[in-house]
Every structure is written in structure tokens, then in C-alpha cells.
Amino acid sequence: MHVTLIQAILIAGVVALSNLDGNFFGEMKFREPIVTGFLVGLILGDVKLGLLIGAQLQIIWMGATGIGPTAQLDIGAGGTIGTAVAILTGKGAEVAITFGLPVAVIMQFLNTFLMTSYSVLMHRVDKLIDDLKEKQMIFIHIICGMITASMYAVLTFIVIYFGNNAIESVVKGLPDWANNGLNAVAVILPALGFALLLNILMEKTLIPFFIAGFAITAFSGLNTIAVTLLGVAAALFVYLLGTNKIAGISSTHAGGEEDEEL
């Protein structure tokens, strides 16, 4: 089955929508294979088959919950392109996965690159704040997601219209060393966000609690909710201590201010 220009453009549009779902639309879930499968089916003239492949992909992807924008695999792009290729070649969901995967990998690299470069724009926002240029600040916020979605759409169009071989050969042609290098960058970058958070909150008197939070999870694997509850317990204890609510223990300094100078 041959794909027409219009169909390729529409499918690229579905991928853009699935990408905007995670950015602009706040995860309303347009990106789930049931939805994209349905839309791709509609575009290619076989709604039932689209739904069916979508359902198969949905089950496979159900367990693999990519959480947030740093998800390992792009469900939206991978699912959409996979379904399109499966319908076009007349093969099943397996084809959808094999073809969707290399594209999803490329998209993920692209996304990492974009999310790194948007950091630069944030400094522009810092400057705009001082001039109270709200409209431009909002423009930057909106444009970021639009750029990402357009990139996704262009790549998808190339893949669908000119064939998956182009992308596949790029992924396969990428030497192992380059792949390893890109992977290493992608695993290190999230550490930056946490370092910046530390920068907001960290005071000398909070170091013991930071150590505790890290050690508990590193050694026992307890999740965030568990550690937060322990944190709440510790915070309540300090609060009670600070307000002299615990009988028998009298803090030498009454009130909270002195706590920070301990």
C-alpha cells in the first residue's frame, strides 16, 4: 500500500499531537496507542485495523510506563509510526514495534538535545522579568513545546514518506562509540536538576536530613512516598521540639529562630 503526500502529512500531524499531549495539553493521553492507532487507521482508510494494532501496542506498552518528559521510550511517536507502517505493509503489531523503535530512539535523542537547549532560553526569561515583558516570557514558554512538536512532525514525515530505511540506516550507522557517548550524557543530565534544587534549599543545618534521605533509598530502595513520610516524621519531631511541646525535654533555645544556628 502506498502512502500519499496528504496521508504522510496527516500522520506527521498525529505525531505532533501526541508530542504536544505531553507538553501543551498536560498529559490528556492523546498519545496512547489506542488513540493514535484510531487516528492513523482513519487517515489510512482502515479504522478497524488501526484500532486493533493500537490495542495490541497498548497492551505491550501498558507495563512500560514512561513517566514524564524523561521517559525512556516515546510511546506517542513510536506507536503512531509503528501503526502506520504496520497498516501500510499489511503486517502485524510486531512490525509496528520493530519499525517504531528506531524512530522512538532518534526522537528521544532529539528531545534530550532540545530540553538541554531550552535551558538557555530560561536565562532570557530571567532578563525579561526585569523589564516585566510578560508577553515575551509567555511566548518563550509556548514556543518551546511547538518547536519540539514541529521537529517530531518533520522527522515523522520523512520516515513515512521516504521510508523507514532512511532513519534505520542512521540509527544502525551510528557507531557504538557515539551511541555510548550520547547515552552517558543523557544519564548525567538529570543530575543537574537535582543539584539546582539542592541549591534552593540546602543549608548547613539540613545536611543530616539530606544524608538520611539519600542513604535510606540507596541502601533499602524505599520509594519517595516512604521517604517523604519519614521526612514528615522528622520535621514534625523538630517542630514539636522547637515549640517545646515535648514534656521533659526543654530546648535551651526557645522558639524556632535559633534552630538554624545550631
Binding site: L52, A55, T65, G145, F194, L196, F210, T217
Partner: protein, 277 residues
């Protein structure tokens, strides 16, 4: 449409909250590794901030800068935190002596737990339920399948967002004014900081996956470096990396420089097989 007044003193209305509600959907739109969702967060509460600091441009600038600090959270419960932030900003406007760092301390303290709960409910429970029901319809070729899935998933998320915002604002401002009156704000900020740094420590250990694939063959024996690192301490590399970057930030090195260094150094370390995921 009714436009009831939510806050008398700053004339914040239901219409402003409705704006924040819709704007909060775009939280991830400008996601980046440095500030994460900060710009989206600031954009969401902009209508309220503008009213609170209507006749105080300097205060408004400071408030914008405050909310441009890094923030990251599962999006559905985020409006709850926004409600609290709005309440705190009102407090800050009224009381010039209020410790303004408490506004971000509260945000960061809520990030970890609400993301954890949000991920479990929305990504775990609601998504799985909505998708499995959707799948069963899709398999029969029912064209309503995507619609059913979308409605099932979005009802709880929409409700969470709207009521989260309202409850966050109402409860947040009540608790905060009580604290302010009793003079315990500073202690409260410190306690929020405890929860915050513990959550960050936990997230460093659970969400950063830096490992070393480095290995040697000594006398025919395969020696894997990561095994030894794990014996010293699990998650040693994520901790050292984060602290290294934190140190660089403290040294006033520009974040753009830090990012480019991460890209260059990370790439080289990856190429030589020293660092991997």
C-alpha cells in the same frame, strides 16, 4: 458565567483561578534540564501574581524570579501547590518581614511526595484502568474506544486539578496565617526544608541511573568496577555527580557552562566506556 471573588484583599476571582487551571496544563511545555517546569509554573500563577503585586512592580519582579527557580512535579496535582503558592504570595505582600524563601521551600517539599502519589494514581491506577477498558472496546473494533479511554482518564485528572487548586489555596492560606500569627513561620520553613532535602536525597538515589560499565580482565578474571562501587555504597555515582554539579553552582559557575561541560565530559566518558546508563 459567575465570577465570584476568592480573595477580597487582592480581588482574585474565580476567573483568575480558571485561567490558572487551564494554564497549568501547559506545565511541561518548556521543560528543560535546568529549571524543569519553572516557566510553566510561573506562567500558570501569573494572573494572580499580577493582581497581588498590582502596584508594586519590584515585588512582582521578585515574585517572578522566585517562581523561575527549578520545579518539577507530576502535573495533575501541581495546581494544589500553585494554590498554596498564591496564598503564600498574598501573605508575602501583606507582611514585608515574612521569610520569602519559605515559598520555594514549601514547593520543593511538596514536589517529591505529590509526584510519588501522582505517579501512582494517574500513571499507575487511572491510566491502567482507562487503557484496559479502552483496549477491550478497541479489540471489538468499536470506534468509541479512544473516546472512552480519554474520558475515563481525564475525569479524575480534571477534578484533581480544579479542586487541588481551590483546596491548596484555601487550606494553604489558613494554615499559613495561623503560623504567621504564632510566629512559627521560620521553624515551619526549616521543617519544610527537612522534608524537601530528604526527598531530594531519595530522588537522587532512585531517579538518576549513572553506572560504570568499566571492566578489566585480570589473570583471566573479569573485574567489573560497578561491583566494587556498589560495595562502597550503592548509587555512589549519582550522588557524586549531583554533588559535583551542586558544588559548581555554589562556585557561581554559569549553568549554561555547566550544561556544556556535562555534554562534553559526559560524551567523552561514554565513548571510553567509563560511564553508562
Amino acid at each position: 458565567m459567575s465570577n465570584q471573588v476568592i480573595s477580597e484583599k487582592n480581588n482574585i476571582t474565580k476567573k483568575d483561578f480558571r485561567k490558572t487551571f487551564w494554564r497549568s496544563f501547559t506545565l511541561l511545555n518548556s521543560f528543560n534540564y535546568e529549571r524543569m517546569e519553572a516557566l510553566g509554573y510561573m506562567f500558570s500563577i501569573m494572573p494572580e501574581l499580577k493582581k497581588i503585586y498590582k502596584d508594586d512592580p519590584e515585588g512582582l519582579k521578585q515574585a517572578y524570579h522566585r517562581h523561575m527557580e527549578a520545579f518539577n512535579m507530576t502535573i495533575a496535582p501541581a495546581p494544589f501547590v500553585m494554590g498554596i503558592s498564591v496564598a503564600m504570595e498574598e501573605q508575602a505582600k501583606e507582611d514585608p518581614n515574612m521569610d520569602r524563601s519559605s515559598i520555594n521551600a514549601v514547593k520543593v517539599a511538596l514536589m517529591g511526595p505529590l509526584s510519588g502519589i501522582g505517579d501512582t494514581f494517574f500513571w499507575g491506577i487511572f491510566r491502567i484502568i482507562a487503557c484496559s477498558i479502552g483496549v477491550s472496546f478497541a479489540k471489538q473494533g468499536n470506534i468509541l474506544a479512544p473516546l472512552i479511554m480519554l474520558i475515563l482518564f481525564n475525569i479524575p485528572t480534571f477534578l484533581t486539578r480544579w479542586y487541588g487548586l481551590k483546596i491548596g489555596y484555601a487550606q494553604g492560606s489558613k494554615i499559613l496565617s495561623d503560623l504567621q500569627e504564632s510566629g512559627k513561620m521560620q521553624l515551619f520553613t526549616y521543617c519544610a526544608g527537612i522534608v524537601g532535602v530528604m526527598a531530594i536525597g531519595c530522588m537522587i538515589a532512585s531517579q538518576i541511573n549513572i553506572t560504570s560499565p568499566l571492566h578489566f580482565a585480570i589473570a583471566g578474571q573479569k573485574v567489573v568496577i560497578q561491583t566494587y562501587l556498589n560495595q562502597i555504597m550503592p548509587k555512589l555515582l549519582p550522588l557524586l555527580t549531583t554533588l559535583g554539579i551542586f558544588w559548581a553552582i555554589k562556585k557561581q559557575i554559569k549553568v549554561t557552562k555547566i550544561i556544556s561541560s556535562i555534554v562534553v565530559i559526559g560524551f567523552i566518558l561514554g565513548v571510553f566506556g567509563i560511564i553508562g546508563g
